[in-house]
């Protein structure tokens, strides 16, 4: 992830309508933004559209960007607003269907087999699932920190919560995951 100075330089160049700067921001931020939106919408095609829209919007508002505020956090914040808006609209549209579907999906996961010869793939797949199961805000704070490398301050800005709450979300998520790992294969936790 580029550092704060790089973002600030990009911000200035965008203000001056430098298209090449938009290309650089896109190249650096496309993957993280896509992953973040996808983690909220759970739909690759929608995430692709929203990601595209975000960079177009960034260009539209380039003249009113504030180089003293984090461009990175701004991008994630736009991503968050759009992703949640989309989710809200979708939910109101398909409330009934979802209710029915959730009933059938929400079965407890099968107990993991106590296989000593633990396959790394298996843990990965399980971890992914357990992360999915985390409460939305915990998963969001954890992913932004662990997978996208955002600072606590940036996450606080994006999620509109205090840095202290960011910490609490992450610690709570880690604790939940620890219990699931422990139930799955306690040996993984020592070392």
């Amino acid at each position: 992830m580029p550092d704060a100075d790089t973002f600030q330089t990009w911000c200035r160049r965008l203000q001056e309508s430098d298209r090449a700067a938009l290309g650089q921001v896109f190249e650096a931020m496309h993957d993280p933004i896509f992953r973040y939106v996808r983690s909220i919408t759970k739909n690759g095609a929608v995430a692709r559209d929203i990601t595209q829209d975000i960079f177009i919007r960034l260009w539209d508002v380039r003249e009113s960007l504030d180089p003293n505020r984090s461009l990175e956090a701004y991008l994630f914040r736009m991503a968050r607003n759009r992703a949640y808006n989309h989710e809200r609209n979708r939910r109101t549209r398909t409330d009934k269907e979802d209710d029915i579907r959730e009933d059938s999906v929400a079965q407890p996961a099968a107990p993991a087999s106590p296989d000593v010869q633990l396959d790394a793939d298996l843990l990965e797949a399980n971890l992914e699932e357990w992360i999915e199961d985390l409460p939305d805000r915990q998963r969001e704070a954890l992913s932004l920190s662990r997978f996208e490398g955002l600072s606590h301050d940036a996450i606080a800005d994006v999620m509109d919560i205090s840095p202290r709450t960011v910490n609490n979300h992450i610690v709570r998520a880690l604790k939940t995951l620890r219990e699931r790992i422990r139930a799955f294969e306690p040996g993984l936790l020592d070392q």
Binding site: R38, V46, R48, D49, Q52, S64, M78, I170
Partner: protein, 357 residues
């Protein structure tokens, strides 16, 4: 040993973990480390398509100056977040306003700016991956959208409130079948690299940027004119049902006869690709079935073009199985879809050597 793990941990989190019992601390730090195995949780798709779409959009809009009222977006974002926050915790005190009179004026101005901005925003209809959709345009024309495609157009095809634009212009990203109603104004479909102009007719446009980027136009009735934005003068007219033209560079190809059943099979939930390279076929499958298909490095991406034709609805896995059979490849299911790999790559030891190096 846990030093290296903790070094990747944000300082705030490390401090926070100091508050935990020492036994707890080690376990939580270990979880943090184990999470490194899953990062990143989702593979991002090829960014080049998205970038091409963005550039096309910006080129389109380049005549217009940047939004002076860009802060409106911020305001929208902020008010949305504020609403969000109030629903979350209504206990937060509301800030007292300095003067109700000025804020009322500001509100009116913002509202006006917002409504103009909303009005000039094009209307977009899209069919996400795995779905298809039919839309009726303001003039009564219909558009059937294939999976992973979208059309956008100006509200009521007007250039300004209550003022009709000279043409009915629709922007297409992906594939669609148009049935255009007769009206005085020409109907124009713009894609990332081509322009299709008609009076009243039905035709299919397939515009996919990215791998094997091209816009393919096939006419089913009436007459259409195809050109590229660079050379509007060197256009090609399609006047016989089944005639087709393709735009990849600056000039459309001369009319050739296409198999109509095949070109329109997607409207009957079938699946067809004609002479496409493997990565393009894979992208098409991803859109059609909303799955993620990865090509293992052992697969030779360059090796020849593929054609597939399924007149009826067919499972994604069946298509992939056939495709692999035709190419001597193997596939396996993954958590998000499928991976295609080559069991015995002929010229591929260099690939694997590169990967391990």
């Amino acid at each position: 040993m846990s030093r290296t793990h903790e070094s990747s941990m944000p300082p705030e989190l490390r401090e926070r973990l100091e508050e935990e019992h020492p036994n707890e601390r080690a376990g939580l730090a270990r979880v943090w480390t184990l999470l490194g195995r899953v990062a990143p949780p989702f593979e991002a798709p090829e960014a080049s398509d998205t970038w091409a779409a963005i550039e096309a959009h910006l080129d389109d809009a380049s005549a217009a100056p940047p939004l002076r009222n860009g802060h409106v977006h911020e305001d929208v974002d902020r008010s949305a977040r504020r609403a969000d926050r109030t629903t979350r915790s209504s206990s937060r005190a509301r800030q007292s306003s300095a003067s109700t009179w000025t804020s009322a004026t500001v509100a009116v101005v913002v509202l006006l700016a917002l409504s103009v901005w909303l009005w000039q925003r094009p209307v977009t209809v899209s069919a996400p991956a795995g779905t298809q959709q039919t839309a009726t345009l303001p003039d009564g024309s219909t558009v059937e959208l294939n999976s992973g495609s979208s059309v956008s157009y100006r509200r009521a095809f007007q250039s300004w409130p209550l003022v009709d634009a000279a043409r009915r212009t629709v922007r297409l990203d992906g594939e669609a079948y148009f049935d255009v109603s007769h009206a005085g104004r020409p109907f124009v479909v713009e894609t990332f690299n081509a322009r299709v102009e008609v009076l009243g007719t039905s035709f299919n446009v397939r515009a996919r940027s990215g791998d094997a980027a091209a816009t393919q136009v096939t006419v089913t009735s009436g007459q259409v004119r195809v050109s590229s934005p660079q050379h509007p003068d060197r256009s090609v007219v399609l006047a016989t049902p089944g005639e087709s033209s393709r735009v990849t560079g600056d000039v459309p190809t001369p009319p050739s006869t296409a198999n109509l059943d095949r070109a329109l099979v997607w409207r009957k939930q079938g699946f067809a690709v004609t002479d496409q390279p493997l990565p393009a076929v894979v992208r098409e499958l991803e859109r059609r079935y909303d799955v993620t298909i990865t090509l293992h490095p052992s697969v030779d991406r360059q090796n020849g073009a593929l054609s597939l034709y399924y007149p009826q609805r067919t499972e994604a896995e069946t298509v992939i199985r056939d495709l692999c059979l035709a190419r001597g490849l193997e596939y396996r299911p993954t958590s998000r879809g499928f991976e295609i790999y080559d069991d015995a790559p002929t010229g591929a030891p260099t690939d694997t050597a590169q990967n391990s190096a």
